[in-house]
Amino acid sequence: MLLSLQAATVRFGGRAVLDAVGLDVAEHEIVCVLGPSGSGKSTLLRAVAGLQPLDCGRVLLDGRDQAAVPVHRREVGLMFQDHQLFPQRDVAGNVGFGLRMHGAGRSERAARVGELLELVGLPGAGPRAVASLSGGEQQRVALARALAPRPRLLMLDEPLGQLDRSLRERLVVELRELFGRLGTTVLAVTHDQGEAFALADRVVVMRDGRIAQSGTPLEVWQRPADAFVARFLGFENVVDAVVDGEAALTPWGKVPVPEGSPQGAHTLLVRPAGVRLVAADEGLRCTVAARTFKGTHVALHLQPRQAPRLEAACALRAAPEVGQEVGVEFDEADVAVLD
C-alpha cells in the first residue's frame, strides 16, 4: 500500500475530529473522500501531510511510519482548497517552487515548468502575475505546482470547490484523464458527490470523523451503507421498514424488495426512478406537491395522505401538474434494503 492510515485519531479539545480512521490507498489509485463539512475530511489530508499531528494511530507511506518525518520531507503534494498560490511570485515562480526546494537547477526547472503548464492547459503562462488569473486558471496553476516535484501521493482539498458549475464539470473530466495518463496516486476530499463519483476509482464517505462507507462509485450509489449515506447522496425516499419475504412493510404500504434481501427491521431506500406513476385509483394515492425541471427528466414531490413525501423521477412528457392526484407503485429494481 502506498498510503495506510491505521486507527488515525485527532482530537480538538474533547471532540474527535478523526476517530480511529483506517484507510488504504494503493499506487495509481484515485480515492475520493466524500462527506459534509465538519466530517473531518480536511483534517485527514492535513494528518497525511504532517500539518496535523495525530493523537493516536499511525500514518504509513510505502509502509514507513511518518510520525518523525516533518512536512517538507514527506514528498506528498497537497492542493489547498483556495489554492494558496504565493501572491508575490508569478506563475512560473509558483509552479517551480517545489522544484527549487528540492534543489533543481534553473534549466531543469524551466523545462519542467513549461512541461507542466502545457499539461494543465496554460502554455506560456509562466510570466503572468498570479493576481491576473481567473479562478479556473488559478486552479490549474495550483495543480501544476502540486505536481511539479512529482509527489508520491497527490492530495486535493475540495479541488474544484470555488469554480462555477460548467467549468467544474469540464475540469473534473480533465483531471481524471490527466491522473490516468500520469499514473498519479490521488487522495481527494470533496463535499460534492458528483465530483467524487466522476473523479474517483473508490469513494470513501465520512461522517463525524469516521468512515461510513467505502467502495466504487457504483457500489456506493447503488447500495448506500446506511440512511446517512443515502441521504447525503441526495436520496429522499429513506424510511424504516420491516422486510418479510419479498416485500417490506413501510409507511407507504407494501414495497417489493429484490430477491435475497435481508429480513427483519431495516432502512429502506427507494430511488426516484423506482417510484412509478399509475392512474389515481391504483396503488398509493398521492398529491403532486412540487415539480422541478431537471433537464432530462422532472423531479416530482408526491405527498401521500398519511406518509412521508416521496420523490419520483418522471419523463417530461408524462409529468403531472402540481395539485393533480396520482397513484404510485414501486419497482423492486430500484429498491434497496440498507444496513
Binding site: 517538507h72 506528498v76 516535484p149
Partner: protein
C-alpha cells in the same frame, strides 16, 4: 466561512507545533543575548550604583524618594500630560490616518513623507522649533503677543507634532491594506457607513490603534528634550528629573530610584498592552495598498481632507518653517558658513563633520536593529508562541519605556571596564541607538507577519520547504515592505537619538543632535543661529532618507 476556517486552522496549528518551539527559541537567542548584554547589564549596573551600599541592598531610598512631595508632583504631571498628549494625538491624527490610507489626492506620497519628518527630528529641535513659534519673541508673540511656553499647551502641542506620524504610519499603513470590500459587505447587510466602520474596520484596526497609542504614551511619558526646553522650571517629567538628579546634582541614588519607578510603570503598561493586543490580533485580509485609495467624494470627505491638510500646515509645517527662517536670519547664510569652522572652543572639529558621523552611526545602528528585530519578530509572530516568548515581546519594548538617559548613562558606567570595555570603540553609540530602534522594527513587522496566512506557509512546507526556507520564501517577500519601513524608522530614530547619545558620543565625534544641543547650551545669537542651521540640515537629511524610503515603497508595491 473564511473566519471559521481560519479559526479552525489556528486551533490546529496550536495543537501541532511542539517541534517548532525549539527552532523558535534558537531564533530568540541572539536578541536575548543582545538585550542581556546591552540592556539588562547596564541597567543592573545603575541599580547597583544607586541602591547598593556596603555589599547590601537598601530599599529605604525608594520609600524616602517617593515620600517627597516634589517627586510625587513630578510623577503626577508625567502621567497626566502623557495621557492628555496621547488623547490629543489620536484625536488629531486618526482622521489623517484615514485620509492618507483611503483618499487619493495629488501629492499624497510626498505629504505622507512630510508628515513623518517631525517624528524623526531630535526632540531638542522640536522643542526649539516650538519655542521659536510660541515662546518669548516667537512668531505668535511677534504677531499677536500670544505666548504658550508658560502653559502646558506648548508641551502638548509639541507632543502632537512629534507623534502625529506614529499614528498615521502605524494605523494608516494597515488601514490602506484592509480590503474595502469587507466594509461594503457590511453595508449590504444593512449597516450604516458609521456602523460598518465601527463593526468591521475598527476591530481590524484595533491592534494597530492600540500599538500606536501605546507608543505615543510611552514617548510622551518619557519625554525629555521637549519638556526640558518647553517646561521651564514649572513642568518636569520623570525623565527630566532623572537627568537633573544625575547630571546637575550627581545624586545617583535618587536617579536610580526614579529609574526603578519608571521601570515599574512602563512594565505594567507593557504587560497590559501585550495581553490586549494579542487577544485581538487576527488574520486579516490584506490587499494591495495602492488599490484601496479613491478620489474624495462628497462634501464630508472633501472637508476631512481640507481639515487634515490645514492641520498639517499649521501644526507640522509652520514650526519647521519658523526653524528654517531663523537659521537664515544672518545675511549670506552666515550661520551655515560658521558651521564649517572648528573655532570657538565648542568643538574640536567643524560642526558640519557631525553629518558624516551621524550617518555612519545610524547606518550601523540600523543594521543591528533590523537583524535583531527581524529575528525577534520571526520568533514572536507564531500564534502558538509560548508564554515565555510572549514575555520577551514585552521585554523588547522596555528600552523604549526606560529613559534614554538611563540607557546612555548605563552604557557609560557599565561598558567602560572589563569584561566589556567599549568606551573607546565607535560601536558604542550605534549599539545604544539600535537598542532604541529594535522595538520599532518588531512593532512594525509583527502585525504584518501575524497577518500572513498560515496556509501559505503550509503550502510551502508541503512543497518541500524547510522551516527556514518557509520564512525566507513566504514570509520575507510579504514582509519586505514592512522590513523596509522598519529599517527606515530605525535609521531615522538613530539619526535623531539624543538622550542616550549625549552621554556616550566622544567629544571629537558628536552626532548632529548632540552638536545642536551643545550649540544651544551656549549663549549668543551666533550659537543659536548655528543650532538652527544644523537642525535644518538634520531635518533635510531625515527628510531625504524618508523620501527615498517612500520611493522604495511605491516601487515595490507593484509586486503585491
Amino acid at each position: 466561512m473564511d473566519v471559521t476556517r481560519t479559526e479552525v486552522a489556528r486551533r490546529k496549528g496550536r495543537a501541532g507545533s511542539r517541534r517548532g518551539s525549539a527552532a523558535r527559541l534558537g531564533l530568540l537567542t541572539v536578541p536575548v543575548a543582545f538585550f542581556a548584554v546591552f540592556f539588562a547589564y547596564p541597567v543592573a549596573a545603575i541599580l547597583r550604583r544607586g541602591l547598593e551600599a556596603d555589599g547590601a541592598w537598601h530599599l529605604g531610598p525608594l520609600t524616602d524618594v517617593l515620600a517627597e512631595p516634589g517627586i510625587r508632583h513630578v510623577l503626577w504631571f508625567t502621567t497626566w500630560q502623557a495621557l492628555a498628549s496621547t488623547a490629543l494625538t489620536l484625536l488629531v491624527a486618526l482622521p489623517a490616518a484615514y485620509v492618507f490610507a483611503r483618499l487619493d489626492f495629488p501629492g499624497r506620497h510626498v505629504l505622507r513623507a512630510v508628515v513623518t519628518v517631525p517624528f524623526v527630528l531630535p526632540t531638542v529641535v522640536v522643542g526649539t522649533a516650538f519655542l521659536a513659534l510660541v515662546g518669548r519673541g516667537g512668531l505668535l508673540d511677534e504677531l499677536w503677543g500670544v505666548r504658550l511656553d508658560t502653559t502646558v499647551w506648548a508641551i502638548l502641542l509639541a507632543h502632537v507634532f512629534f507623534n502625529y506620524a506614529v499614528v498615521v504610519r502605524t494605523v494608516g499603513g494597515l488601514w490602506a491594506q484592509l480590503d474595502p470590500r469587507q466594509e461594503e459587505a457590511a453595508r449590504m447587510l444593512g449597516a450604516s457607513p458609521l456602523a460598518a466602520w465601527r463593526k468591521v474596520t475598527l476591530p481590524a484596526l484595533g491592534p494597530a490603534v492600540a500599538a500606536a497609542a501605546l507608543m505615543v504614551f510611552l514617548f510622551t511619558f518619557t519625554s525629555f528634550g521637549i519638556v526640558q526646553i518647553l517646561g521651564g522650571p514649572t513642568f518636569s517629567t520623570l525623565e527630566v528629573e532623572i537627568y537633573r538628579q544625575t547630571s546637575d546634582l550627581f545624586d545617583l541614588s535618587t536617579a536610580a530610584v526614579l529609574t526603578i519607578v519608571q521601570f515599574l510603570a512602563v512594565g505594567a503598561i507593557l504587560v497590559v498592552h501585550a495581553w490586549t493586543v494579542r487577544r485581538r490580533e487576527s488574520a486579516l485580509r490584506l490587499v494591495d495598498a495602492s488599490r484601496t485609495a479613491r478620489r474624495p467624494r462628497g462634501a464630508g470627505q472633501w472637508a476631512l481632507l481640507a481639515g487634515v491638510l490645514g492641520t498639517v500646515a499649521v501644526l507640522l509645517v509652520l514650526p519647521l518653517a519658523v526653524l528654517v527662517q531663523r537659521s537664515l536670519t544672518a545675511p549670506g547664510f552666515g550661520y551655515y558658513r560658521a558651521l564649517t569652522r572648528a573655532d570657538g572652543g565648542t568643538f574640536l572639529v567643524a560642526p558640519v563633520d557631525a553629518i558624516g558621523t551621524s550617518l555612519s552611526y545610524a547606518a550601523a545602528a540600523t543594521a543591528i536593529a533590523v537583524v535583531i528585530g527581524a529575528l525577534a519578530a520571526a520568533a514572536l509572530a507564531r500564534r502558538d508562541a509560548g508564554r515565555l516568548v510572549r514575555a520577551f515581546d514585552a521585554l523588547l519594548m522596555l528600552p523604549l519605556g526606560v529613559s534614554a538617559v538611563t540607557v546612555g548613562f548605563g552604557f557609560l558606567i557599565a561598558l567602560d571596564k572589563p569584561p566589556l570595555d567599549l568606551r573607546q570603540s565607535w560601536i558604542l553609540v550605534p549599539l545604544a541607538q539600535a537598542l532604541v530602534g529594535v522595538p520599532f522594527v518588531v512593532r512594525t513587522m509583527l502585525p504584518v507577519l501575524r497577518a500572513v496566512d498560515a496556509r501559505l506557509r503550509e503550502a510551502a512546507a508541503v512543497l518541500g520547504a524547510s522551516p527556514w526556507r518557509v520564512w525566507r520564501e513566504v514570509d520575507l517577500p510579504i514582509v519586505r515592505r514592512a522590513l523596509l519601513i522598519a529599517a527606515g524608522f530605525a535609521f531615522a530614530v538613530s539619526l535623531g537619538e539624543f538622550g542616550a547619545t549625549v552621554f556616550i558620543a566622544r567629544p571629537g565625534n558628536p552626532t548632529l543632535p548632540v552638536a545642536v544641543a551643545r550649540l544651544l547650551s551656549r549663549p549668543g545669537d551666533l550659537n543659536y543661529g548655528q543650532a538652527m542651521a544644523l537642525s535644518t540640515i538634520l531635518m533635510l537629511v531625515c527628510a531625504a532618507a524618508l523620501l527615498l524610503l517612500e520611493r522604495l515603497r511605491t516601487d515595490r508595491s507593484g509586486e503585491f
